[in-house]
Symmetry: C3
Subunit: 269 residues, 3 copies
């Protein structure tokens, strides 16, 4: 892979999102659903949040991608997740899985492993504790946040991707993306981002938007993560605190452009 080529692909795909305005179906948590919807709009896609078992079939018929976030999993939602992924696989639309809390809560870990084993998950995006937990690497975890430094992240991303034939994204101080072979590292993150809840969920929404317009999940993962990283960096420069950062993030995603991608992207392999 080549850094310039990757950035050019992201720029191209971002224009495609604005043109096509893909519908991104979210099954997500009530804590960050509003931010996920707003960031989806900001990148130029159209969000829909539907998790009623009686409704998802119709929505998935229209959807261009499915973002599955298990951050407030209720008993009912488990079945809905499986059903939604099954329907998405049938239509061959990309599925992005955000395994929130899989590092801390055993039924979430089990659900994630079921999903990865029995269905096509195009991209899984978690923090280091979540990803390590799924492939049974010991880790330290605190609720839904990872306490890890990024040690072993590249290898963990590669291992999970290889094992389940998917793209793995690990977000944190640095972001790691792997297809099971290569590892892409994106280094645009800023510490203040960790003070805002839902930045991971928002990244998954952006990945969902990118996945809905192009042919390769690795590019979609890079597109979503890079957009979040650059927007976060620009937002943090102006924000006096995490409250301001939260709304600036949305504005910076809305105003991202070719020039910013080219100038700011920190990608290595």
């Amino acid at each position: 892979m080549d850094c310039t080529k990757l950035v050019n692909k992201v720029i191209y795909d971002r224009e495609k999102i604005r043109e096509k305005k893909p519908l991104i179906h979210h099954i997500t948590n009530y804590i960050t659903a509003n931010d996920s919807a707003n960031i989806t709009l900001s990148i130029g896609a159209s969000p829909v949040m539907v998790d009623n078992p009686a409704e998802i079939k119709e929505i998935i018929q229209m959807a261009d991608a499915l973002v599955l976030n298990i951050g407030s999993l209720s008993s009912g939602q488990e079945g809905v997740c499986l059903k939604a992924v099954e329907l998405a696989n049938k239509r061959d639309i990309p599925v992005i899985l955000d395994p929130v809390g899989a590092g801390a809560i055993s039924i979430r870990k089990e659900l994630v492993i079921s999903l990865l084993s029995d269905y096509k998950i195009n991209i899984i995006k978690g923090n280091l504790a979540e990803i390590k937990s799924i492939i049974d690497i010991p880790t330290s975890v605190k609720g839904v946040d990872s306490e890890d430094t990024m040690g072993g992240a590249g290898e963990a991303a590669r291992e999970l991707a290889w094992k389940y034939n998917t793209i793995t994204v690990i977000t944190g101080k640095q972001d790691f993306i792997s297809d099971g072979q290569s590892i892409v590292i994106i280094d645009n993150g800023v510490p203040l981002l960790a003070m805002v809840t839902g930045t991971g969920c928002m990244t998954a929404s952006l990945i969902g938007a990118f996945s809905a317009v192009e042919g390769g999940s690795l590019y979609a993962a890079v597109g979503g993560v890079l957009t979040m990283g650059i927007a976060g960096q620009l937002a943090a420069r102006q924000a006096v605190g995490p409250g301001m950062l939260r709304y600036k993030l949305i504005d910076e995603v809305y105003h991202i452009n070719e020039n910013k991608y080219k100038k700011l992207a920190q990608i290595s392999f």
Copy 2:
């Protein structure tokens, strides 16, 4: 009708809201509930969000209006909606229905038609795809967002209002309000508003507040839509993006006044 008279009525009612501080009971979705609550406070009313079947009876006894939004309808909520409207009708308090997704999801459309057929719905407020779908006019729809230009909006608003003896509001590039005979057009909207999720839900909350203080639903619909339109216009002038717009909207609703209504209202018939 007369434009100046309408604006004066809105100004008068807005003062009444501040004096009376009516309680606006919401049964609504988890994605935009926070914005709905905050905009209700900003106009001077008091929001309450209760959807537990065991609790709604007590709340409706105190409520001055009921705003029903089916944007995250769960199986349980269907029964709650019917029960809530029945109780609201018994007490003769205004009911505002936001048929989110009725253009895309058949069980939502069915629920909306049941509500309109079997109960008194004072005001229904949706986008063009939702309203057309309810009266079986073919339309294009994308999830919960309408893809339509505003073609045929006036007629659709009039037809639904006439058929179900209600007031219909269609929001979009322009806003159309009809009582089944006249059509009021409000043209204060700005494109950036479409980049913020929940502006429709917030408009319904404002309509709910206006409906709780005066005698005619048409005036309440105009009051809510006009307030949102002017606040949106003023907010968009200052906002660098949709993140900022979201909070500025709340501030502008809070600071709306006689002068702004008179100077900015764009109403035609």
Copy 3:
């Protein structure tokens, strides 16, 4: 008690929160969950929101405090509340109860009384209508908001605290805190705060963070209430309206420091 000593304790505990980064488990409502999570992060703690009965056991094993908010109580959540408090009591971690709506809705009042009677609730924090209602003092109430002036607040706080062997916090124009004997009054509130939904919920989250690092619930209550009061005061100075106030609050909690506590604290007995 002594005012300077109290403020110094708050300053010390706030540093402890940053060092320890305690995990604050919330069972809370969908309307204000995002703000609760973000304010928890801003003070330096780590939020987790889990209310699935199958998941709470694992989370409470890791948690440093439990914040229970019944603002969108569903039938399922009742059982979860009881279970969560039982588990928290077993582990002897502090439990903060926010009895949202207990002044208006009888099943909420009953649940709160059960919790207070049968379990250890370290701190209960409500508005005046809620607290009075729990100890059967007649009051006026409007939905989930209190209409009371603060008349009788000190006595009500003391009575409830004494009766149930807990710490009572009553928030409003002034804030009252009692351990059943002394009454602490904090007078940093500003009227604009009442125009933002969820400030009470956010205060409970802050109290939760303070309760997780020190040995006395009275200090934790003072810490949370004082932090919210000072942050609110500083935020209101800059905010042009309630929309801006909402995000400034988060920023001001993030930037609170020794100097601001010492200079601005308005505490009396």
